[in-house]
Structure formats: structure tokens, C-alpha cells
């Protein structure tokens, strides 16, 4: 979506009809709207949101949401049915041109300001057509779930970088990159009203034996659904418990009585997690060695017997053969020896050669024994290597187990020490923590059980599916019903596979994208990491001295971000997501033309808390989206932001929101120089307040 023009008519403080043309040139993709605080930046952002989504789209910080019509206009005498506010937005989306118009009469505003009228027109080949369900269409083009990532107040977005909003971020990624579309399709295909219905249709047209199996399959499907529900609840509980534990940990760390012990415990628990992962890896490696190479260790007896045979053949002079029978055979057939003598039938010379045949060796036999000899050597060497590797891997496994034991002992000790503190708050926290730890263990055990039950049920389902397909029905109807059922099952399986691939492949790409931009803006030392659950973390590396071992080692730590850093993180995240969505619409995935598109970034006051990061944001964010619209006050703009935007030559359009009205402070600066433009900030108007949009030279 690219915004082309916004027309306001009596919307909030914008009196009369006023327009803004947005820059649509890719090289100069920034539209700047300058305004002092209170002059209409937030109202302008809300004009766009109201246009697209009506009352539901308005931002939380907009006061008096029910007053859409300019207060002065609304107060004038006249027919309330003909006094109105109107927002018109012209935009293009996937090469189609749209014109949206939303209006609200004073009559409607008095009854219920939430109910406005919306029309949407699509221009195609010079023809204008009204869109039948305009709101539905707009939501299809830009779902409300992603709009808060595209139209936002820059100072209020730092919450996105907070831990508790990880789910929101995950959801935004899934929506914007089209993954949620896959998920919905899978869920709907599996629904009882689709797959279940197809099974019923098949059952009605099929033999008794097959019908019985179909009934069983339905029961197994119900079981799988039930287990999946339990799995979902279990996962939610695990996440909630982990979060609670993290919070308790943070509280204990803040308490001076427990601070050191809790910090040590956090470190130990991190090490424990790493060691458990290592243990899993080492155990797997051991299993692999035993499965693939351990035969060599048990082949000692066989090798001995093989050696004996080879030695015997060697001592008997059978290998290596003194002369080959194939060579003698050639001489006899050619009736001529290599010494040129004739080997005529019955001659003494021929008899001598024929005698040689009795102890001549066979070439293939020679080769076979040679190969056996060689193989025996390799098995012996392999056995040595396998023995050595097994010892090494097992030694590291034992070392891990020892380390884990020490960590567990120290953790138990810390628990005792913290629990034994005289501080009541610490005791309570430790008690709650212990209960949560127990709950966590129970939940993990339950998870294991659910996974195993699900695996069992899934296997039974797959077996039944095969058994059902093997029963051949003669009736054409039954065959058709079977084919339909198979098609839906195949489509579901394929979609799940595609979803897995897309999820696996997108995460590192998005991670790289975010990290690259993050480093550019924040500078060295920090980096961004997107976890497998699409959780965004900002990391740093610290050097830790191990005094006992007299070494220094580096450790990666999650950074506790300042408000400004959180704002940058959120901005970078949104811009990277927009950049990836745009690139994704250009990549030939199966979602091309179905989802993923270019989106504008509309930011109200994005530089507020940024401090030293302002130049980075001003320089890099406009590179990520095709269109960037910024509403900015002169104090936020002057200096670094102005310099960066001037240098990059990205400003395509520029406007100023000027105040007209009676409330002008005596010390107010009435004139301002913005770029090459001299603007009048305030104009006195005794009767009415309103904001005037002035176009400036860019």
C-alpha cells in the first residue's frame, strides 16, 4: 500500500477542506509534516486511522474520541444532517488505485459517533467501480492487527520491545509475513465441517469394513484434537510459569539480602540449561557411535579366524600364487610358450605346462584374499579408533554429569540459604519460587506424556488411513469421496510442511535484517536476536574473569534496555518487518499475490526519546520502507535529524501545521525557519481555533 493523498474536511481541528499529497517517489520517499506540540500531529495520524478503520482505529491517546467534527463547525447553527466531517484517502495497493471516503454527519455524531459512512472505489483501466463491502476490503488489504505497527505514535511504541509484548510481536510477524494465513488454512481444512464431513460422506458410500475403520478414525481424530487442546493449555501454563519464575528471580535480585545468591543462582541455572543441552548432544553422539561403528569392537573373534585362514593360505603358498592359471590357459590355447617353444598336443613341453596347472593360483581368489586381508586390517584399526572415540565421548559425558551434580548441589544449597534468611519478603518469594519450580516440573512431565500420547494417536491415525485406502471400493461415488478425503488430507499435510519450511527460513532472514539495522543505529557492542519463538532480545558480550582457573572468558547477556533503546529497538523491528514484507512480496513464494505487500510507515513524533540515536533512525529507517511519513515538532527535528535527512535527500514532500486562534502565548515564537521556508507558526483569530496545512518547499 502506498498513500497518495489525504483530504480532510472539518476533521477535528482541521477546519474546511485541506489536503496533503504524500511523496510516492521511491528515492525521495519521506513526507515530513512539521508541527509544534498541540497543533494536530496526533489528529493527522488519527485522520488516517479513522479513514481506514473508523472509530475502532483511533489511538488511545486521542482525547474526546466522540468529537470528530471540528468544534466550531459543530457549534454553528444549521441542519445537523448536512454538517459533516470527512476524510478521503487515495492510495494504491498491488498496482490498483483506491479512493476511500469516510464521513460522519453532526446528526450521527450526536446519536453515536462510532457509526460513520464509508465508501471505497477502485479505479481500473479508467473505470471507477464501488467496492461492495468496503470495510471488509480494507481489512483484507491491511488487517487491523498490523496497522498498529504501521501507523503509530513513536513515543508510545517502546512497549513493543518489552518482554510481556513478545506474543504481540510474534503475532505481527506471523500476520505480516503470511504465516497466520497458513495456520488458518490448516485449521479450517482439518475442521469437522470439512474433513469430518468428507469422512461422513465416504462412510455413507462405502463397505461395512471400511465404515468401521472410518468410525475408529473419527474417534482417533477426536482424541488427537483433545490431546492438542491439552498440549496448548500445557504450553500456555509452561510459558506463564516461566514468566512468573523470571519475575520472582528479578525481585530476589533486587532484594539486597538475596541479591548475590540469586545472581549466582541465575548464572548456575543458565549453565545447567547449557549442560543439559550438551548432555543430550553427547548422549546422542554415543548412541550414534554404538549404532554405526561398535560392530568393530565385537568382531575380534571373527578377525582372528580370518587372519588364521589368510596365514594358512600364505604358508601353503596359495597366495600370492606363483603362477596364474589364466596365464597357463592362454599358453595352452595358443600352443606356444613365451620361450617360443611349440606346445603341440602330446608333446613333453605341453605336458610340463599342464603339470604347472595343478598348483597354479586363480586371479580372483588372489584378489579376494587380498581384500579380506585388507578388510581385517581396517576392522582392527576401526576397533581401536571406535574404542578411543567411545572413551573420549563417554569421558565428556561423565564430566558433564559431574558438573551437573555440582551445580545441582550448589543450587540446593542456595535454596537453603535464601530460604533460611530472616527477611520475610525473601522467604515468601523463595517459597513461591519453590512451588513454581515444582509446578514447572509437573508441567514438563505432563508435556512428555501428552507428546507421547499424541505420537501414539497420530501413528494409529496414519495406520488407519493406510488400511482404509487399501480397502478398494467399487462404487464410483465411494471412490470419489475417498479421493476428496485424500486430497484434503494431502493438502493439510503439505501446508503444514510449507509452514514449517517458511517459519524455519524466515526467522534467520528477519533476525539478520533486524540485527543489521539495529547495529547501524545503536552502534557496536549490542546485537539483536530473534529466538525460535520469534522473541526479540538485545544482547551484549561481557568478559568474565574466572579467578580459580586464571582465565577470562566471554559470556552473552541479555541487555536491560533504557526507554530510548527500547524505542529504537521497536522502530528497527517494525521497519525491518516492513522491509521483509516488501521483499517477500517480490519473492516467488506460493503466497505471492495472496499476501505480503509493501506498506507505508506513518510515524508521529518518532524521535522523542531517541537522544543519541536520532541520526541513525533518521538515516536508516527511510531506507527500509517504500514510503515514510513523519509528523515531527521543530525541537525534535532541528539538528541531527534535519542534517541526516538533508544529506540523504530523501524528503519528497513537506508540510507545516499552522495554528489559528485566540490562545497565543505572549512569548510564543511567531515565525520559524524550516529548511528554506519561513513559516508563520501562529496567526491570531479571535473567533475560532483551527489548524491550517501549509505546503512547504522540500
Amino acid at each position: 500500500m502506498i498513500l497518495e493523498k489525504l483530504t480532510l474536511e472539518n476533521f477535528r481541528q482541521f477546519r474546511g477542506k485541506q489536503e496533503i499529497f504524500f511523496s510516492t517517489i521511491k528515492e525521495r520517499n519521506v513526507t515530513l509534516v512539521h508541527a509544534e506540540n498541540g497543533f494536530g500531529k496526533t489528529a493527522l495520524l488519527n485522520a488516517l486511522l479513522w479513514g481506514f478503520y473508523g472509530h475502532d482505529g483511533l489511538t488511545e491517546d486521542l482525547p474526546k474520541k466522540e468529537s470528530i467534527i471540528h468544534e466550531g463547525i459543530a457549534a454553528r447553527p444549521g441542519n445537523p444532517a448536512s454538517i459533516r466531517a470527512r476524510v478521503i484517502i487515495s492510495f494504491s495497493h498491488d498496482n490498483e488505485k483506491y479512493r476511500l471516503e469516510r464521513e460522519l454527519t453532526l446528526e450521527q455524531q450526536k446519536v453515536d459517533s462510532k457509526k460513520s459512512d464509508l465508501t471505497l472505489e477502485l479505479s481500473q483501466d479508467g473505470m471507477v467501480q464501488p467496492v461492495q463491502y468496503p470495510q471488509k476490503k480494507i481489512l483484507t488489504l491491511m488487517p487491523a492487527g498490523i496497522s498498529e505497527f504501521l501507523f503509530f505514535n513513536g513515543e508510545g511504541i517502546e512497549h513493543l520491545a518489552r518482554e510481556e509484548n513478545a506474543t504481540k510481536i510474534t503475532e505481527a510477524i506471523r500476520q505480516m509475513l503470511g504465516l497466520s494465513l497458513f495456520e488458518a488454512a490448516i485449521e479450517d481444512l482439518r475442521h469437522n465441517s470439512v474433513l469430518g464431513k468428507l469422512r461422513t460422506e465416504l462412510r455413507e458410500r462405502t463397505s461395512q469394513e471400511k465404515a468401521a475403520k472410518l468410525d475408529e478414525q473419527t474417534m482417533v481424530v477426536d482424541e488427537i484434537t483433545e490431546w492438542n487442546k491439552r498440549k496448548e493449555t500445557n504450553q500456555k501454563n509452561i510459558v506463564a510459569t516461566d514468566l512468573e519464575l523470571e519475575m520472582i528471580g528479578a525481585k530476589l535480585e533486587l532484594n539486597k539480602e538475596a541479591h548475590h545468591l540469586q545472581t549466582r543462582r541465575s548464572d548456575l541455572e543458565k549453565k545447567q540449561t547449557t549442560l543439559v543441552q550438551d548432555l543430550t548432544g553427547v548422549t546422542k553422539r554415543l548412541g550414534q557411535i554404538v549404532a554405526e561403528d561398535s560392530y568393530a569392537l565385537f568382531a575380534g573373534d571373527l578377525v582372528q579366524r580370518g587372519r588364521k585362514i589368510v596365514d594358512q593360505l600364505r604358508s601353503e603358498g596359495k597366495i600370492p600364487a606363483r603362477v596364474l592359471n589364466s596365464f597357463l590357459k592362454e599358453l595352452l590355447e595358443s600352443h606356444r610358450c613365451i620361450c617360443k617353444r611349440h606346445l603341440d598336443d602330446g608333446s613333453d613341453e605341453r605336458k610340463l605346462v599342464e603339470e604347472l596347472m595343478t598348483y597354479a593360483g586363480d586371479q580372483q581368489f588372489n584378489n579376494a584374499v587380498g581384500a579380506l586381508d585388507n578388510a581385517l586390517g581396517r576392522i582392527e584399526e576401526g576397533a581401536d579408533h571406535t574404542r578411543k572415540t567411545l572413551q573420549e565421548v563417554n569421558a565428556s559425558r561423565l564430566k558433564i554429569l559431574d558438573d551437573l551434580k555440582l551445580i545441582r548441589e550448589e543450587l540446593a544449597d542456595i535454596h537453603q540459604k535464601i530460604g533460611g534468611k530472616a527477611d520475610e519478603e525473601v522467604n515468601k518469594l523463595e517459597d513461591t519460587r519453590e512451588k513454581l519450580k515444582l509446578k514447572q516440573r509437573e508441567l514438563l512431565a505432563e508435556k512428555g506424556k501428552i507428546d507421547s500420547e499424541l505420537e501414539k494417536a497420530q501413528k494409529r491415525f496414519d495406520d488407519l488411513r493406510k488400511e482404509i485406502q487399501d480397502i478398494i471400493d467399487n462404487e464410483a461415488d465411494a471412490q470419489k469421496a475417498q479421493r476428496r478425503l485424500n486430497a484434503v488430507e494431502e493438502a493439510t499435510t503439505l501446508l503444514q510442511r510449507l509452514l514449517d519450511i517458511e517459519t524455519t527460513e524466515l526467522r534467520p532472514v528477519l533476525n539478520k535484517e533486524i540485527d543489521e539495522h539495529f547495529r547501524k543505529i545503536i552502534g557496536v557492542g549490542y546485537w539483536a536476536e530473534l529466538s525460535e519463538e520469534f522473541k526479540l532480545k538485545i544482547m551484549k558480550r561481557i568478559i568474565v574473569s574466572d579467578i580459580e582457573a586464571e582465565v577470562e572468558k566471554s559470556e552473552n547477556l541479555e541487555v536491560a534496555l533504557s526507554q530510548g533503546q527500547r524505542q529504537v529497538t521497536a522502530l528497527v523491528f517494525i521497519a525491518s518487518l516492513v522491509a521483509l514484507a516488501r521483499r517477500r512480496s517480490e519473492i516467488p513464494t506460493i503466497l505471492k499475490g495472496v499476501t505480503g505487500s509493501e506498506y507505508p510507515l506513518v510515524m508521529d513524533s518518532p524521535f522523542g526519546q531517541l537522544a543519541q540515536f536520532r541520526p541513525g533512525v533518521a538515516r536508516w529507517i527511510p531506507e527500509l520502507a517504500n514510503q515514510v511519513i513523519i509528523f515531527v515538532s521543530s525541537t525534535q527535528f532541528e539538528g541531527a535529524v534535519a542534517a541526516e535527512l538533508k544529506k540523504s535527500k530523501r524528503i519528497g514532500k513537506r508540510y507545516y501545521l499552522a495554528y489559528h486562534g485566540p490562545n497565543i502565548h505572549a512569548d510564543a515564537q511567531r515565525e520559524l525557519l524550516i529548511g528554506k521556508n519561513n513559516v508563520t507558526v501562529y496567526t491570531e483569530d479571535k473567533k475560532e481555533e483551527f489548524t491550517e496545512i501549509q505546503e512547504l518547499e522540500s
Partner: protein, 60 residues
């Protein structure tokens, strides 16, 4: 300048998709189009009926 595009070529999911039989590909495309129309709605009363219609239209 916008970020550079990845090298041209098929994505792994598209390759996987292309391997599927024609009718399965058509079915998936139709279902995704159908879902796209209603993905923003809280209740989607006709989605299952519409998907079933696609299945029956495509597999005769």
C-alpha cells in the same frame, strides 16, 4: 535505497509446493484465497462451506 533482493530463484517452500499434484496445488491456492478474504474477521461462518465447495469443484 531499499534493501537488496535475495538472489532470484525458487524458494524451498515453492519447490515443495510444485512437487505436489495439480489438484492439490489448486486446492491449496483456493483455500488460501478464501482465507485471505476473511482473515480479519472474528467469526467466519461460511469458510468451511466454501472450502468444501472448492474440494468438490476440484475433485470430480
Amino acid at each position: 535505497m531499499p534493501a537488496p533482493l535475495p538472489p532470484p530463484g525458487e524458494t524451498r517452500s515453492r519447490e515443495e509446493f510444485q512437487k505436489a499434484p495439480e489438484e492439490i496445488r489448486e486446492l491449496i491456492k483456493s483455500v488460501l484465497q478464501e482465507e485471505r478474504q476473511v482473515m480479519h474477521m472474528r467469526t467466519r461462518p461460511d469458510i468451511h462451506k466454501n472450502i468444501l465447495q472448492h474440494v468438490k469443484r476440484l475433485i470430480q
